[in-house]
């Protein structure tokens, strides 16, 4: 009985949590301009989204392109910068290490609005005109700490003699780095990259403050302006639905692979 109530509670929470997304997904299959007004089944919004046949379509498409491009560049740079930094930090001692760890935590702990405002004021202060470059810089600032935090544990978990063992067996320092250190850090770098990529995709406040006045929009800022103009562009509904399905499929694939690995290891 207790079990049953517990089960019900969990499912109730999930239903409530998913209600808005399901609601959007349902109404992505109708043409109505207003949400909640069912005017018959249609896939027109989907075709519109893909053909770009809608009002202000150019803006939405370029916002999607910007979002992906910025996330890719920021996550890539953050992964390289963060991995090199993690190797350095791992080999530091004492006060210097503490200071870097403290600074590294600031962009994680700080609310996005503070990070956004502080970078905005920095660019104003240094008279740097804002646009693509400043948004990417800001996103790198946001993302790199997550990469560092994902790579550092891989270094501390690593047997401290591993690198020396490679040298001992005749590897030059560069070979030891490439053949031993890098493969062992790879899982941390990948999870760091994925986290950095999603942080960048999801960001609104930092982009909002650092994009300047050149009319640069990412998906988040597009939705913000769009919603303030009154009402969601109908084509956003299929976009939300597709993104949700995409994430769902991705997570299912990851989970199945993880389960398979667990099984393989148990064998």
């Amino acid at each position: 009985m207790k079990r049953f109530f517990a089960q019900c509670y969990i499912w109730l929470l999930l239903v409530v949590l998913y209600a808005p997304i399901v609601f959007i997904a349902i109404f992505s299959f109708t043409e109505s301009k207003v949400l909640g007004n069912w005017t018959g089944f249609s896939t027109k919004l989907y075709t519109n989204l893909f053909t770009g046949d809608m009002q202000g379509s150019g803006a939405l498409v370029s916002a999607i392109e910007n979002t992906i491009l910025i996330a890719l560049v920021a996550a890539t740079v953050a992964t390289i910068l963060g991995t090199v930094a993690a190797i350095g930090i791992h080999n530091m001692r004492g006060k210097g290490k503490q200071a870097i760890n403290f600074l590294n935590n600031i962009p994680i702990l700080n609310p996005d609005i503070i990070t956004g405002v502080s970078l905005f004021l920095l660019f104003v202060f240094l008279h740097i005109s804002q646009g693509y470059a400043t948004v990417i810089l800001a996103h790198i600032t946001l993302c790199t700490p997550y990469v560092v935090l994902n790579v550092l544990p891989k270094l501390t978990q690593m047997n401290p003699n591993i690198y020396e063992a490679a040298l001992d067996l005749g590897a030059t320092p560069y070979q030891a780095l490439r053949k031993v250190l890098m493969p062992l850090l790879k899982p941390g770098m990948i999870s760091g990259f994925i986290l950095a990529f999603t942080m960048s995709l999801d960001d609104f406040a930092i982009t909002f403050f650092t994009r300047g006045t050149v009319g640069l929009d990412t998906l988040s800022t597009y939705i913000y302006t769009d919603a303030r103009k009154g009402g969601l562009t109908p084509e956003l509904r299929p976009l939300i639905t597709l993104m949700f399905v995409g994430v769902l499929v991705l997570l299912i694939v990851i989970n199945i692979r993880a389960m398979r690995n667990a099984k393989n290891n148990a064998r």
């Binding site: 910068l81 930094a85 870097i100 609310p111 913000y224 303030r228």
Partner: protein, 257 residues
């Protein structure tokens, strides 16, 4: 060893980056906060904030909403995390993923969807919808860290406590809750911090009727009131600082106990 330890210089590029894009911007916030618009040292921005009933009211409301949201998230999230942690391993993992999944969807989109749902159900947008919507957005952030701690907790603590004569209720309050404190604290950090600083989300959920502190900062910055905006940002930074100090202290207390 000596060869490898030279690797410490590898941190240098990132150190420069951190100084330029993390430390310097914060210093500039402080600099702007203590200047008037013509660049002279001034406490005027803070005086303006303290005497502006509107700003103070918004500030108080933001804190209130953030605290309420955090409390509701704990009340709803702890039982959920507890149930999930006590489930059979495999099935709970799948359910936990279900809880985390919405976090991967763009927060603005989720919030818009929620607001539209309220709209369709005919619910008037206001403070009520603001809090419910925020709980929607942030509940997963509370459940996940608590679940993490609870599921890793050694079951023998519970067994030891009941062996020593504690009732299930006492086991829960005297053993499990104190031991899961770090999870609750990181949950609080992940819920309280963003709610106190949010701006777009609150606008969507109340149809611009209720302004939160983040919105005031944004409005001032956008209307080029940089010095006042910086001062307000500094006030928020101090709140964040105090909250994170709380976290550090709690950790130490837990360590001693």
């Amino acid at each position: 060893m000596s060869r490898f330890s030279k690797r410490s210089t590898w941190a240098l590029p990132y150190v420069i980056f951190l100084v330029l894009f993390v430390a310097l911007p914060l210093i500039i916030i402080i600099l702007y906060a203590f200047q008037d618009s013509s660049g002279n040292f001034s406490l005027g921005n803070f005086a303006k904030f303290v005497t502006d009933a509107d700003a103070i009211g918004t500030f108080a409301l933001s804190l209130e909403v953030a605290i309420e949201n955090t409390l509701i998230c704990i009340l709803l999230g702890y039982p959920a995390a507890w149930i999930l942690a006590n489930k059979k391993l495999n099935r709970s993992a799948v359910t936990v993923v279900l809880f985390i999944l919405p976090m991967w969807i763009n927060a603005l989109m989720r919030t818009l969807a929620t607001a539209e749902l309220f709209h369709m159900l005919g619910i008037q947008l206001g403070k009520g919808t603001l809090i419910v919507g925020m709980v929607y957005d942030y509940l997963p952030f509370m459940i996940y860290p608590i679940y993490n701690i609870l599921s890793k907790m050694d079951k023998s603590y519970v067994e030891a406590a009941s062996d020593l004569g504690a009732t299930p209720w006492q086991v829960f309050w005297k053993v499990q809750v104190p031991l899961s404190m770090p999870g609750i604290i990181s949950g609080v950090m992940m819920v309280f911090m963003p709610t106190v600083s949010t701006f777009a989300i609150s606008e969507f959920l109340t149809n611009n009727k209720i302004k939160l502190f983040g919105t005031i900062i944004q409005e001032n910055i956008n209307s080029s009131m940089w010095n006042y905006g910086a001062a307000l940002s500094l006030v928020m930074l101090i709140i964040i600082g105090i909250t994170s100090l709380l976290q550090d202290n709690k950790k130490e207390v837990n360590g001693v106990v």
